[in-house]
């Protein structure tokens, strides 16, 4: 790992914290275009370990209705990559929380991958997740660019990913792996099924060299606690977006949301 990545905030997070990591996902520009920064600041203040900010896209095929709706509203409200990068720079002035940008490949391609990486790095972004970017394309075309800009790329794995492929992904990961809890689009669920638990156990038994976070379907204290038993931590997305849709961006309400999530399971 190059020296630039040693200073990466995500790397530092996973070095200092081995369990119970909570990452929160939300869509940039939702509910309104100006909300990206205050939400990030409130999440940092609430003690969240990492934030993932979604770059909205018109055709989010891996997302369920909640995140689809937030994407639509964000685009209509004027969110775009250039605006988001400026907002991240503002967030970065106020907090040192690790920041990941997550989105579909096309908006980033149109912005220009090189320009995106350079400006994201300058704004204070630590990692990028582009679920529809093929691994081969990343390795051949973008890995050096990411490294040169001190950005980590996280790959997804799902219950249908073969062990061979999980190991291949582990071998090219610098940071963490995003383990999707079920073969599904994003959304909320109240509890995990037995087959998901079996998958988490299988994953834990692989002894991967990188930490992994479990995401998709983590929506309450119970699912979060379960995920954290099997992984370095978990990612909450749709249920936080539901919270924002219902309660707005009030900092105290966001802190309460995070507090409730971290309650020990009954």
């Amino acid at each position: 790992m190059g020296s630039v990545l040693m200073k990466n905030r995500i790397v530092q997070l996973f070095e200092s914290k081995k369990e119970g990591i909570l990452s929160i996902f939300y869509t940039a520009g939702f509910p309104t275009v100006d909300d990206t920064v205050p939400i990030a600041v409130a999440l940092a203040k609430a003690g969240v370990d990492m934030i993932e900010i979604g770059i909205p896209f018109s055709d989010p095929i891996a997302d369920g209705p909640i995140i689809q709706q937030s994407n639509k509203q964000a685009i209509e409200g004027g969110m775009r990559v250039a605006v988001l990068l400026e907002q991240v720079a503002h967030v970065r002035k106020q907090t040192s929380i690790p920041i990941v940008l997550m989105g579909y490949l096309n908006p980033v391609l149109q912005y220009g991958m090189e320009r995106f990486c350079q400006q994201a790095s300058r704004a204070g972004v630590d990692g990028v997740i582009l679920p529809d970017m093929p691994m081969a394309e990343y390795l051949q075309r973008y890995r050096e660019l990411f490294r040169a800009n001190g950005l980590l790329n996280a790959f997804l794995i799902s219950p249908t990913t073969s062990e061979l492929r999980i190991r291949a992904i582990d071998s090219v990961t610098e940071g963490f792996i995003y383990a999707v809890s079920a073969s599904s689009t994003t959304g909320t669920r109240h509890q995990f099924e037995a087959e998901q638990i079996a998958y988490f156990e299988r994953l834990r038994a692989l002894g991967l060299s990188n930490p992994y976070l479990i995401g998709f379907g983590i929506s309450n204290a119970q699912t979060l606690a379960t995920a954290c038993r099997y992984a370095a931590g978990a990612i909450v997305g749709s249920s936080f977006i539901q919270h924002l849709a219902a309660q707005g961006v009030d900092s105290a309400a966001i802190q309460q949301f995070v507090h409730d999530l971290r309650q020990p399971a009954p």
Partner: protein, 396 residues
């Protein structure tokens, strides 16, 4: 000098277009297809079953009809490849027969599909009924309204038609919903994509199943003209499956002029168009890198066409490549021109074409032919499903 490549390469690309841009949840399905589609479809037992169904069930070969009055009108020797005479009324069934046989061999129990005009949905519902498989078709809510007879045909065939209510509620949105369904049901379900779009190997697989169109054209042209090569082949292009089939066996014969006709909608400068080669630039949608109508921010632009089957903001990556290297000439015609051409064909030859197909007919006016030119138009579908649109348009 290297000869230009027309077929897909081993990585799934046509030049700079193609590939498989999919979230990890779909990777195992796409990988299994990629590894097995060529082996399975070249097995003798597959070919035997496929050919028998095309012959006895679909009604192939479809006629290549010399359109005498249309020829006189345009001053050329015009032939119509009668895909409209296929069972279910369009070329779409060539592909659904192929894919359902493939799905069976992959051990899948359920089928999903997207549909625009409903022709692919009906063709999928039909083969699912034939094989006794459970079928679910996603269709944009707007398309369900403007292609109501096809919705009911699917229901009669025992298929569940699910309205897609996101976006413009047309083909793009139906495709999004079908992909989401597949992500949620990856192991027991096969997704029958209806056009030469989607992640590799879909574009190549669908093109191969549709290639029977140009294979027959060549044979029939030898019979009728003593020469397998026409001067022109015309086909309409939404995603581009009928065009892929009509062009396929002529791609290497560079003296054959291939013309793809896109939906200009209300005109390419009107902001309400689906003419992707005129308005698009390279981007990634529905699993492949292709030409795409999009904003500077990379948000996909909602297309417009009077024809539900052409109302799509992209084209298949193969067509993007053929456009890029200049092998296929792309033109576009407006809603109005297409409707007029549909009525004109009805009155000249007694054939009411699908509005998609009417676009290909309308493009004839943009060309000046020599009287000996042999021109083949792929008559991809019949107009029964479009009666309401014809009635609403009213100028006949």
């Amino acid at each position: 000098m290297n000869k230009p490549r027309y077929e897909v390469d081993t990585q799934g690309y046509y030049g700079q277009f193609g590939g498989a841009y999919i979230p990890e949840m779909l990777y195992p399905n796409i990988e299994a297809l990629r590894e097995r589609y060529l082996a399975i479809t070249s097995e003798p037992s597959f070919q035997q079953e496929f050919q028998a169904l095309l012959r006895d069930y679909v009604g192939r070969p479809t006629p290549l009809y010399w359109a005498k009055r249309l020829s006189e009108k345009h001053g050329a020797r015009i032939y119509l490849k009668r895909e409209d005479l296929c069972h279910t009324g369009a070329h779409k069934i060539n592909n659904t027969i192929g894919q359902i046989l493939l799905a069976q061999r992959l051990g899948k129990q359920k089928i999903i599909a997207e549909t625009g005009a409903g022709q692919h949905g009906v063709a999928t519902a039909t083969v699912c009924a034939l094989m006794g498989m459970e079928c679910m078709v996603y269709m944009g809510k707007l398309d369900m309204e403007r292609q109501r007879p096809n919705v009911e045909r699917m229901r009669i065939l025992g298929t569940q038609v699910v309205p897609a209510t996101s976006g413009n509620m047309t083909l793009k949105d139906a495709t999004n919903e079908a992909m989401r369904h597949w992500i949620n049901h990856p192991t027991d379900t096969h997704y029958i994509i209806g056009s030469v779009v989607g992640p590799h190997p879909y574009p190549d697989m669908v093109a191969r199943f549709q290639a029977v169109i140009s294979e027959e054209m060549k044979r029939q042209l030898i019979e009728k003209e003593g020469n397998p090569f026409p001067d022109y082949v015309f086909a309409c292009v939404g995603g581009g499956s009928n065009a892929a089939g009509a062009f396929y066996h002529f791609l290497a014969d560079e003296h054959v002029q291939l013309v793809g006709v896109e939906a200009g909608g209300r005109g390419i400068d009107s902001g309400e168009s689906a003419a992707t080669t005129a308005l698009g630039k390279p981007g990634v949608l529905h699993g492949s890198r292709t030409l795409l109508m999009q904003t500077d921010d990379g948000q996909v632009v909602e297309p417009h066409s009077i024809s539900a089957g052409l109302d799509y903001p992209g084209i298949g990556p193969m067509h993007a490549h053929l456009f890029d290297i200049g092998r296929v000439t792309f033109v576009n015609v407006t809603d109005d021109e297409a409707m007029k051409a549909g009525v004109a064909l009805s009155r000249t030859e007694g054939i009411i074409p699908a509005i998609e197909t009417a676009h290909a007919m309308a493009a004839l006016d943009q060309f000046e032919f020599d009287k000996d030119d042999v021109v083949v138009i792929n008559l991809s579908g019949r107009g029964d499903k479009d009666l309401e649109t014809y009635i609403k348009w009213g100028q006949y």
